[in-house]
């Protein structure tokens, strides 16, 4: 494999939320295949700054695939083509010499663009604040081992809890639904005895916040699951729906 490749970048540039935005083309010769995608963006930005131009704004922080901050739509795929990978963990060895790479922000009504590739994901916060927790105060919790939890269930709860809240599910969904994100949290807590007392109130409240924030409905196309960098299963959406149905029937509201 060649150690360097030449690529062209077609990047969405948008000055701020109210700007209309447009694509701009950048040549990137001599990109090391050992670079991560974001390191390549760093190299581009370094060049733009030296030329006195505005660098491309994008969100990123831990660069270890866990903080969920990075959020690029690369060649029509959230976080790029590689399965189970965030943009920061995507490396240039997966691209072809001479390729034109299209880079866009997450596109969803609930995620307005702040600038270029950075979007506002506050809508996710609203969903979590509506019920993504166990209502307990810091203090005198019982001993951790007083509550044995079946390993299989603990493991499945952990699978759900692996969600990094990046928003790739929303960006990949043709309806811009946040069902995978929301159901992962609901499922984690539903699988554990700690979450049981609020199980049904939680789904109702979170669903309401979800719709209010402007996310679309789920039509079970499964795009979210296949694009999720943490490979969260849509089985959690099914669990959410079951709980939601039960909650709607038994709710006295």
């Amino acid at each position: 494999m060649s150690e360097t490749i030449n690529v062209k970048l077609k990047i969405w540039r948008q000055k701020n939320t109210s700007d209309k935005g447009r694509f701009e083309l950048y040549d990137m010769p001599g990109v090391s295949t050992h670079m991560s995608f974001l390191e390549m963006m760093d190299v581009l930005n370094d060049r733009l700054v030296r030329e006195g131009k505005d660098p491309v704004a994008f969100d990123h922080d831990c660069r270890e695939g866990i903080c969920g901050m990075c959020s690029m739509y690369i060649n029509g795929r959230a976080h790029g083509l590689l399965k189970g990978t965030t943009t920061c963990q995507l490396h240039m060895r997966h691209f072809e010499n001479g390729e034109t790479i299209t880079i866009e922000p997450w596109r969803a009504e609930a995620f307005p663009v702040i600038k270029d590739l950075a979007v506002d994901r506050t809508a996710f916060e609203k969903i979590m604040q509506a019920g993504g927790y166990v209502s307990m105060n810091t203090g005198n919790a019982v001993d951790g081992n007083a509550l044995p939890i079946e390993k299989v269930k603990a493991d499945e709860a952990m699978d759900a809890a692996s969600c990094i809240g990046c928003g790739a599910c929303v960006a990949s969904c043709k309806n811009a639904s946040a069902m995978l994100f929301m159901s992962a949290k609901v499922s984690q807590l539903a699988l554990l005895p700690q979450g049981e007392p609020e199980r049904y109130v939680r789904v109702l409240k979170m669903m309401e916040a979800h719709d209010e924030a402007g996310f679309g409905s789920c039509t079970n196309t499964g795009a979210c699951e296949s694009e999720c960098p943490k490979e969260i299963s849509i089985a959690h959406i099914a669990r959410f729906n079951r709980d939601y149905l039960t909650a709607s029937v038994v709710s006295e509201k």
Partner: protein, 657 residues
């Protein structure tokens, strides 16, 4: 000023003339009774008054989120700030391995005392006994708290919590959630915080950065922040300010910290009178993915837990460039097992890092740069089976493969030490209060519990201990005097002054219009720090670093270039402010390293080593915390010493052989 004199009457430690500048305020009594006694005698704020008291928390990692949530639950009015787009993204999220607690679920002889002892010894006897004992004491409650929040810790088939072991100890006391423990603990704290935000007890400011501390009559009374999206400069006042802003490893440019991790908040606090404790104490983590090129801006950690089942080695022969699988057993040097038979691959981080540097300096390093050693799992896979190794480390192996393109199940990982954690930080007393009354520092940003070296899985423990179980008690001691004072208006002259300073600095940065990028200067600083104030330090090198940093500072203020404007989302401007502070902090780290002529923990002064090349402490001359006091931009910082008294543990030469 009536409130000042009243304050001075009640807080004699504020009066610098009569008292030592440092009062650690450690409660009397035997070590194991101090915290219990303190909790039952500390002054309280009644619920009706709590509602009128406002507290600012800067940072939303384990320490910040747990503090903000717990204080809001108690009824205080909280404002919490983070520079990321959500509190859930703070860099605690990236902690992999685990969190320690003295539960003794493994029945292997663990106890609060042993966790305390291991931590003091692991820190090479440079931490305060009383604080560390308290940390060990509250460790068990943290696990209970997190379980109750729904943190999915790893469990055994019987449904009980599982433990594993970490470096520097001989018991299994580390709780974990796959290789994502930090993520799960942070999401737990974040969920509690989200609940308080929903209830209106905490107001969250995402994408906001603290740029100045505001003090009125000597007390911390607010902050100046910048809205990173609009560029707007804002004023926020409160009765007390808590900093939980993490470590300053990014002084080195390359580190395992997140790109945005910075020291600006604590540096501003330092310049407003908070003393800086042991700035040179930096942890270089032994197991990171080696540097691959100049374009690299961050290093990736491979969890220390890997050393449970991985064996570290280099070829015995200098310059042996064969593939690892072609090197027979007898030509390999498992140098940690050889040098430290009783701890083997699980020696503390500082020891493992130094040993890796030594073998690489001898020319036995592997990989293209020669700056790497092997970490191999072949034997464990044979012993335990591939499935067990996959279950334990699957996500770490995947991450390694994504970054390097190599499969660690079949070929050894290549690893090298990298800057990971800073034990130094703002000096705090037993209450976690800095030398500025009303200003607190929690988690990594204080100097408190880890001495000169932190043990694995103890950072998460400290962050959550400070936020959930310490500050909710200790802050009452200060706030009990504040119930009659209204929140100062943000129109106060001190706010005008602080805001002007912030705006002037931003204008100055924007107007440099030079030729170099902010990263150019940051890289220069990083190289100097790594070379002269990294794994090995000596006087000539440090003196050279002192001069070089001065030059870098001048160059920075003459020649950087920030595109765009200050009134927009401008990441270069954000970086510039942070790097300006890193440069000054780097200079202080060098001063501290120069002063401390002994070796201890992560601070290795080459002049002070044993015949076998181990760190040699000097308890006669250096058994103190160096607390540095800002004395102006053009004056040398003033050294204040807090003598360390060891009533229970007797410092000995640390040995892991």
């Amino acid at each position: 000023m009536e409130c000042t004199s009243q304050f001075l009457r009640q807080h004699p430690y504020k009066n610098k003339k009569n008292m030592s500048k440092l009062n650690s305020r450690i409660p009397d009594g035997p070590l194991e009774a101090k915290w219990t006694k303190y909790k039952s005698t500390v002054r309280l704020v009644n619920p009706a008054n709590k509602r009128r008291i406002e507290v600012i928390v800067v940072g939303s990692g384990l320490a910040g989120a747990s503090a903000a949530a717990s204080l809001a639950e108690l009824g205080y009015s909280v404002k919490c700030f983070c520079f990321q787009d959500s509190p859930r993204r703070a860099h605690s999220i990236a902690a992999q391995g685990g969190i320690n607690a003295a539960k003794n679920y493994s029945n292997d002889g663990d106890s609060v005392f042993r966790l305390f002892y291991d931590t003091v010894k692991g820190g090479d006897y440079r931490a305060r006994e009383a604080n560390v004992y308290r940390l060990a004491e509250v460790s068990n409650a943290i696990i209970d708290q997190c379980v109750a929040q729904g943190v999915p810790f790893a469990r055994e088939y019987g449904g009980l919590l599982d433990n594993r072991s970490f470096g520097g100890v001989q018991v299994s006391r580390t709780f974990y959630a796959r290789g994502q423990t930090g993520q799960q603990l942070l999401l737990g704290a974040y969920s509690s915080l989200s609940r308080q935000i929903a209830k209106g007890n905490c107001q969250m400011y995402n994408r906001h950065e603290m740029l100045e501390l505001v003090t009125i009559d000597g007390k911390a009374r607010g902050i100046i922040s910048r809205d990173l999206v609009s560029g707007e400069i804002q004023r926020h006042s409160a009765h007390a300010v808590i900093l939980a802003t993490g470590g300053y490893g990014n002084v080195f440019f390359l580190s395992t910290n997140a790109m945005g991790s910075n020291a600006t908040a604590i540096w501003k606090a330092y310049k407003k009178g908070a003393f800086f404790g042991n700035p040179c104490f930096t942890q270089i983590h032994p197991t990171c993915i080696p540097v691959s090129g100049d374009y690299q801006s961050k290093l990736t950690l491979m969890s220390e837990s890997l050393r449970n089942d991985g064996r570290v080695w280099v070829p015995k022969a200098v310059g042996d460039k064969r593939k690892p699988e072609d090197i027979p057993e007898e030509e390999r040097d498992y140098y940690l097992e050889r040098r430290y038979p009783s701890f083997g691959n699980l020696v503390p981080r500082d020891v493992a890092s130094r040993a890796a540097k030594q073998v690489c300096d001898e020319g036995k390093g592997v990989g293209p740069s020669g700056l790497a050693v092997f970490l191999e799992f072949k034997d464990s896979i044979k012993r335990l089976g591939l499935d067990v190794i996959k279950e334990r480390y699957g996500n770490l192996f995947e991450m390694y493969e994504k970054i390097t393109g190599e499969d660690p199940y079949h070929t050894p990982m290549r690893i090298y030490p990298a800057v990971h954690y800073t034990m130094g930080g703002l000096w705090v007393d037993y209450n976690l209060m800095t030398t500025v009354p009303g200003l607190y520092a929690l988690g990594e940003c204080n100097f408190s519990d880890h001495g000169a070296n932190r043990l694995g899985a103890s950072a998460l423990m400290q962050g959550l201990a400070d936020g959930y179980f310490v500050i909710p008690y200790t802050i009452g001691d200060f706030l009990a005097d504040e119930i009659r004072n209204p929140v100062p208006p943000t129109t106060h002259a001190e706010f005008d002054k602080a805001e002007k300073e912030v705006k002037d600095k931003i204008d100055r940065l924007m107007n440099i219009k030079g030729k170099q990028t902010v990263d150019d200067l940051h890289k220069k600083l990083g190289k100097v720090m790594w070379e002269y104030c990294g794994m090995g330090r000596n006087e000539p090198g440090l003196l050279k670093a002192r001069t070089l940093i001065k030059e870098i500072k001048e160059e920075f203020w003459k020649d950087i270039r920030i595109p765009g404007s200050k009134d927009e989302f401008n990441t270069e401007l954000e970086k510039a402010g942070r790097v300006a502070d890193f440069i000054e902090l780097g200079a202080l780290m060098v001063e501290d390293a120069l002063l401390r002529k002994e070796s201890c923990g992560g601070h290795f002064r080459e002049e002070s080593q044993t015949e076998e090349g181990e760190a040699k402490r000097d308890d006669v001359n250096f058994s103190f915390v160096a607390a540095w006091e800002y004395a102006g931009d053009n004056s040398a910082p003033v050294l204040n010493k807090e003598e360390l008294k060891f009533d229970v543990v007797h410092p000995t030469q640390r040995s892991y052989k």
